[in-house]
Symmetry: C2
Subunit: 202 residues, 2 copies
Amino acid sequence: MSIPAPRTRIQEKNRTTILEAGLDVFSKFGFRGSTLDQIADAAGMSKPNLLYYFASKEAIHTELLQGLLETWLDPLRDMQADGDPVTEILNYVRRKLWMARDFPRESRLFANEILQGAPRIQDDLQGDLKKLVDAKAEVIRGWSADGKIAAVDPHHLIFSIWALTQHYADFDVQVRAVLGGADPFPGAQSYLEQLFGQLLRV
Amino acid sequence: MSIPAPRTRIQEKNRTTILEAGLDVFSKFGFRGSTLDQIADAAGMSKPNLLYYFASKEAIHTELLQGLLETWLDPLRDMQADGDPVTEILNYVRRKLWMARDFPRESRLFANEILQGAPRIQDDLQGDLKKLVDAKAEVIRGWSADGKIAAVDPHHLIFSIWALTQHYADFDVQVRAVLGGADPFPGAQSYLEQLFGQLLRV
DNA sequence: TCTTGATTTGACCAACTGGTCAAACGAACG
DNA sequence: CGTTCGTTTGACCAGTTGGTCAAATCAAGA
């Protein structure tokens, strides 16, 4: 509706290149810490050329965040009420952990935005996100009521899954510093399966 | 050793005022997102006056981080090998959660620094922090070996405590958006006690 | 009161940053 | 070959920002 899809193939390609470069830079330095020159450099083109494809620095950032919000919640959306409860929840944990491992820049971009008070996505949080979480919390509450998992606060369960998985992306340098550089993800996965397995069992 | 304590009482007071203002601004906007003018405003003094007490913007930031690092880990230091294991760990969780509730700015300042790759405190992470965590991990491993708590990966246990407690400070806007503005901390505390209680019981 | 040293600030500067613009370039098509 | 239209960029600009400096103010002791 608002964005008439870019026409030519070269436009498509350059917009993608810019968004990729923007993700790289924004996730590393935050919005205010990033400069158009940095992004232009990373994208291998001149600053005015950036602004030929995007109206402003903010436009790049906004498009990244919106695109991210859309896909970031897919694993939660896929949690099915009619699946096996423990399996559904543990699968959600696993998929979120893999996203932290495979898309740490996206996680950090998001973390940066929330840390600064979510100035650009607060509406999405209070709207779509809240609706989705409330719906899934109801599903979890149902599982508890049916005695299929332990009685837990569904909202805090979801928060804890977010916190524990994103931590490995957002605090990567700290985790690796403490572990002496070792890959934290294998250990994280079995720890999280143990943690949530114990929590949920009736 | 390195810092000859400020002499006069007025210096003491002004440095404190500036650090307080710096914490306020840095925790909200990050290092690059904050300006000396903002900090001077918040401190109620002129910009050159700031720089009479601190050599640079970076000096304020560094002093905040160093002071923070010192006290931030006190709850972990206080975990005693000869206490009751579950009590010791649950007390650590509680104290960390209270810190997230009572000192969210400090938590966000730290999160900002780590997110950007910890450019100013990487040495501390790989040095003192790693040493402390390794020592406490050994204590926890001992508890597990003695059958006093379940067998868990001690490092990931500590990471999970950090992640779950700091999440309520760092992602405050998101948590409150999803909860519709309600205070998350009471619910968080009982959820976390349940979570770690289940995990640790033998 | 006068002197001295600490404190405070208005004015200023150089570097940086987001963004503009006119001109140049390139490819497809007649 | 020449026109046209999409693409690219060097040069530039105004606002911001970290930091400087000399001058002004203040407080306390002689």
